[in-house]
């Protein structure tokens, strides 16, 4: 069956752990384990959560000219400084289209003689084709024989360092290759929960043993996609296809911080990526709308698709919620969405229509929970 769901190297372990499985981006993935979404979320914020993110795309890009040649080619596809990325460091980026919209968001790491790229599962085939097309002279290889795990939370360092002592010294966004009892691990000190933690690429045939060793530790519980979503939303982080897509620019999406000065107007390598005109203009003059955090009054979540109004009655919608859920750590509902830039100031009172009733909602600072990175 060509449309059969794909499985990650940890599939059997998920079943053994009692995971509830759902289709996600073509993979059969755990949405929650026995603890349930709420407790898994809280455990990750208090101790450490282990996530299987093997569905994400791991890609190595090489060129005869080494890292600099690859970085120059990549700068033709993303608005960030890839040449300026130091060896052993990672950076957030996005592929843009000619209109300045976002094709995907991704992580780029300088690993000395090559670029290591991690992309979203749903976009990986398109991303790889896009890189092959747009980076002439580069070899773009998808890594299909490695799993990707994330260990996230304030006790992630203690948990991982017990197995791989060297990781304690890493700072946020460092990347290293470490030898271990589970073969070579490609470790980055990063993640997508707003917590300190690591993402670890491990050979597929070692992944289950590695995951079991982590899960055997007191700090660590398995966490599914359900809590991954509420964690990243509390962390103010965008989910591709929801908060960002081909119709949103990085400036509208409040991701301008990811565009270094050197790629902006007046910079040494200004522009030169798809949609540069639109994006660089918005960086200088502002965008008509902006992604903001939204805190609804009361306890009812305002979910994706909820229309936002300026007034309690009358008028047309001025914006839309792109992600919305209950935040277990903040103990209340939280959303992100787009509103006109003149309504985007923190504290602005707006209204979201839930089940036909307009409910008050306040523009709030992101992240909803303070980031807990080891800088």
């Amino acid at each position: 069956m060509s449309d059969a769901l794909r499985q990650t190297p940890l599939h059997a372990l998920h079943a053994e752990l009692g995971a509830k499985m759902v289709p996600f981006a073509g993979y059969d993935m755990p949405v929650q384990y026995k603890l349930g979404v709420m407790k898994e979320h809280l455990h990750c914020r208090a101790a450490a959560g282990l996530f299987d993110v093997s569905h994400m795309g791991q890609v190595i890009v090489r060129a005869p000219g080494g890292y600099d040649a690859v970085a120059r080619a990549m700068e033709g596809l993303v608005p960030v400084s890839v040449l300026g990325l130091a060896e052993g460091r990672q950076r957030y980026a996005m592929f843009t289209n000619d209109q300045g919209g976002i094709l995907d968001d991704l992580m780029l790491a300088n690993r000395g003689d090559h670029l290591f790229v991690v992309v979203n599962a749903a976009c990986k085939a398109a991303d790889i084709a896009h890189m092959r097309d747009g980076m002439p002279g580069c070899a773009v290889d998808e890594i299909t024989d490695r799993a990707l795990l994330a260990l996230q939370g304030p006790q992630a360092e203690a948990g991982l360092a017990r197995l791989v002592p060297g990781v304690a010294e890493m700072r946020f966004m460092d990347v290293v290759v470490m030898e271990s009892d589970f073969g070579a691990l490609w470790v980055s000190r990063s993640g997508y929960t707003g917590e300190d933690g690591y993402e670890i690429s491990v050979a597929a045939d070692q992944a289950e043993g590695f995951a079991r060793a982590l899960l055997a530790e007191d700090e660590v519980e398995p966490v599914g996609l359900g809590a991954r979503d509420s964690l990243r939303l509390e962390g103010g982080l965008c989910l591709y296809g929801h908060d960002i897509d081909e119709g949103t620019t990085p400036v509208e999406a409040a991701l301008s911080w990811a565009i270094q000065k050197v790629r902006r107007r007046g910079g040494e390598r200004a522009g030169g990526f798809p949609g540069a005109e639109v994006i660089l203009d918005q960086l200088e003059n502002g965008a008509p709308r902006r992604r903001v955090g939204l805190r609804p009054e009361g306890r009812a979540p305002m979910r994706e698709g909820t229309e936002i109004y300026a007034e309690a009655e009358g008028g047309a919608p001025i914006g839309t919620v792109t992600s919305g859920a209950f935040g277990p750590t903040i103990g209340g509902p939280m959303s992100m969405g787009y509103v006109p830039s003149d309504k985007a100031a923190v504290g602005t009172q707006l209204f979201g229509e839930v089940r036909g009733k307009r409910q008050p909602v306040t523009v709030a600072a992101l992240p909803f929970t303070p980031a807990n990175f080891k800088r």
Binding site: G36, M38, R299, A325, F326, P328
Partner: protein, 119 residues
């Protein structure tokens, strides 16, 4: 006790019927985070939307299983929606309804039939 295909349970208590959701339903919903109850005194018809609940996954409606008047609601759920996961068949009832036609209960499943229904 009777059960609906919407995974509600109904228990006759003196002259009213107490309504809640089943263990199976609460497991399927996941952690409940918000409950909106009807007002006491509301006249409802069978299949009217009576309660809105939101879990970590989605919003769901609980329908009135009978024609009648809402005589009491479980306000404790508003502050502690998690009770619906902890004790769905007991403490976490939603509302009590004074049925106009108690015979409407006859259409619903008994426990054995409900167990078959959920497989």
């Amino acid at each position: 006790m009777k059960f609906t295909e919407e995974h509600e349970w109904l228990r006759v208590e003196d002259d009213v019927v107490v309504v809640g959701i089943t263990e199976h339903a609460s497991e399927q919903l996941g952690d409940v985070v918000f409950v909106e109850l009807p007002e006491v005194g509301t006249e409802v018809a069978k299949d009217d939307e009576a309660v809105v609940i939101e879990s970590v996954k989605a919003a769901s409606d609980i329908l009135a299983p009978l024609d009648g008047e809402i005589t009491e609601v479980n306000e404790a759920l508003v502050d502690e929606p998690g009770k619906i996961n902890d004790d769905p068949m007991g403490d976490a009832w939603f509302f009590k309804i004074k049925a106009s036609e108690l015979s409407q209960m006859d259409d619903y499943m008994d426990e054995a039939a409900y167990k078959d229904f959920i497989g």
